[in-house]
Symmetry: none
Subunit: 208 residues, 2 copies
């Protein structure tokens, strides 16, 4: 298909597609002449992926480029899939400029040990969790270790679903872990709002 | 206390406090003279709430006014408080300009009904979920209804923890729901990354 058709198929303006091509976010089509090229389903898929990462995942185009690099990197073995994916996710999630203070990070490490999770103590998400937990403390939300344990138990169930659906093929696996983690976050956020409504309505009905 | 003391106590500038008073975000103090009034702890709490909703929750002052209206309305029952807080979160979370298409929204409504959740069919988070699910489809993540059921089961556990920790007092409840929903999201996101690592390490160890 020509660029205009790719635009119609993907819902992305021709000017934006040209920008994607220039930036290497979209692989070139098969050259037909000096001014035209032929695009196929792989281009439609890629454009939809870039859109999803940008609009739903909220990633910058520079970050999306890094994500695409990781998921198309040849020769990644399955053992390194998660680490590669996590490195990308760390870059993607760099939202907060402030680091957590040392005390908060240590609290998370202690909590993880007590909770029995097998985690690299230098994992960058420990710092993310420390910062997020600190913000809850500042807002006096009463998020203590006991409630963290209860959340963690349910989140472990979610992670079990995540891991069980990772494909065997390494390239597909990296793609799945990176995209699945980023794009399923908004699904879980929306589900949480809906579940809160369901749970509080049910509580109203059966409550005192 | 006088306005200057309320400013010192709450960390909010006098000019801002006067603005809050004019806009009705802060209830008037007890009149002492034509130019001065007396403020108490209820004013300190209210100013802190407005600040938290504005700075941490990212809400506009117009939205905050609507939340305050609901929580100060006499006879507000617990269910309405939670729903008002959720409406507030919808406005706060208005990120994506595009709506989901009608088919996606209907798929979510059908899934909710089949799953047995008691949700207002016009709930705006249905549209959020539809968009997020659609993005997963575009990325070919294989997020089918069965996997959505498994996620939903665990998220319902999270929501049960959320709802069980909501305080009885309506004003405290709205504060807790709005801030708890917004600030606990990043906690759950970080926990999911850590849990994925734990679950896949455990699977590597016990796997074939």
């Amino acid at each position: 298909m020509r660029l205009a058709e790719l635009s119609a198929e993907s819902g992305v303006a021709v000017a934006t597609l040209k920008y994607y091509l220039r930036e290497g976010l979209l692989h070139p089509g098969r050259t037909l002449s000096r001014t035209s090229a032929d695009y196929d389903e792989s281009h439609v898929d890629r454009v939809r992926l870039v859109r999803a990462l940008s609009e739903v995942g909220g990633l910058s185009l520079a970050t999306i480029e890094q994500v695409l690099e990781v998921i198309t990197e040849p020769g990644t073995d399955r053992l390194h899939v998660l680490e590669a994916a996590q490195r990308t996710l760390v870059r993607a999630g760099a939202r907060t400029p402030d680091g957590a203070d040392g005390g908060s990070t240590q609290r998370v490490r202690d909590w993880i040990e007590r909770h029995g999770w097998e985690i690299d103590p230098m994992d960058p998400f420990i710092d993310d969790l420390a910062r997020a937990w600190e913000a809850c403390d500042h807002a006096a939300l009463g998020l203590d270790e006991d409630r963290m344990d209860r959340y963690a138990e349910h989140v472990e169930g979610i992670a079990t679903v995540d891991v069980s659906t990772v494909p065997e093929d390494p390239e597909a696996a990296v793609r799945h872990v990176v995209l699945g983690t980023l794009l399923v976050d908004p699904v879980l956020v929306a589900l949480r709002r809906l579940a809160q409504q369901h749970v509080s309505r049910r509580a109203e009905r059966v409550g005192p």
